[in-house]
Symmetry: C2
Subunit: 202 residues, 2 copies
């Protein structure tokens, strides 16, 4: 084990923890499993971080700091309407979930655990504030491209969008029904487009 400053070790541990949680679940993310994933001796754990819960706090913040939906923005470029844009973005998101279901499961597990843990109960609010901000950015990008008039406030629509993606994900994780998920997305796209008054296109 080469010499690594504590702050770097801390970051490495957070990444390792996220990997373990994605693969095996939060319950399996013991201190020993995390250091094994990171290739460190056990003692490095409490040298780099005060407690397991504090490391989990790092994990949530790591997740929140990630780009997230930035990868979806390019999809909008192909869209000629709000409905199409919504469908492409939601389909792209579901594809992302399908590619690594464990990652999204990890998000849910972390949120639920944080809600139950005294020292971490403030995290979920941050987490969802970030989600809502990301959704707003995506809606802004679509607006900049298609110039619709929205009949509802953008933050409210963003929250609706996040709620729907969460629910879509939970249902798909539970029954893995691709076709049903696709139909849900179609409906949601129509519903979202219903809040936009689009300008006529050439």
């Amino acid at each position: 084990m080469s010499r690594i400053p504590a702050t770097e070790r801390r970051a490495a541990l957070a990444h390792a923890a996220l990997a373990v949680i994605s693969r095996d679940g939060l319950a399996a993310a013991t201190t020993r499993a995390i250091v094994a994933e990171a290739g460190m001796p056990l003692a490095s754990f409490h040298y780099a971080v005060a407690s397991r819960d504090e490391l989990l706090r790092d994990v949530v913040e790591l997740v929140v700091a990630e780009e997230g939906v930035a990868a979806l923005a390019p999809l909008l470029a192909k869209a000629g309407s709000i409905r199409e844009a919504a469908k492409l973005a939601l389909s792209g998101y579901l594809e992302f979930v399908r590619r690594d279901p464990g990652h999204e499961q990890a998000m849910f597990e972390l949120t639920q655990y944080a809600l139950r843990t005294p020292g971490l109960s403030d995290l979920p609010a941050e987490q969802y504030a970030r989600y809502h901000a990301l959704a707003t950015e995506l809606l802004d990008a679509a607006t900049a491209q298609l110039h619709p008039d929205w009949s509802v406030p953008m933050p409210d629509l963003a929250r609706l969008l996040v709620s729907f993606t969460d629910g879509l994900t939970l249902a798909w994780l539970a029954d893995r029904d691709d076709a049903a998920a696709a139909r849900s997305i179609d409906l949601a796209a129509v519903a979202i487009a219903g809040f936009a008054r689009e300008k006529v296109r050439a």
Copy 2:
């Protein structure tokens, strides 16, 4: 401890387990915590049930068997439109969540745990099939009362409805923002009503 047949003890343990999970979370639902909640000696646990995971299976099935949204149907009686009906039902549901947040958290925790646990991975699909069936019943009740024509298949709309309630619940659990949740419900109600062509009323 009076003499109780094993099957009754098993049911009592499932109820006790649900109580513990709702109050303290799934991680706190140890065999000892569950039997303490049920007022039984520890040994009764493995006499009534083969393992902890099998008991959790019982808990999920207990939950799935429960009425659930039946209490929301009466709310529809006051509604004069689909939009109003949706708003009343969703508000009623959120009120239910607000009254006992731990219960809904327990649902999410159980689903996630089951997905990760080899012997229980079939449960979430059942669970969500039940949710979708319940949502369909509620939509049917609204249809019977207001006689709209729906532009989309009822099962698809039911799945959308469940997805939205899940997402609504997750977001509210995270930030406890009542006002934002109410605005989400308003938007969702409009969106749902958008799929209905309502007959003119007198």
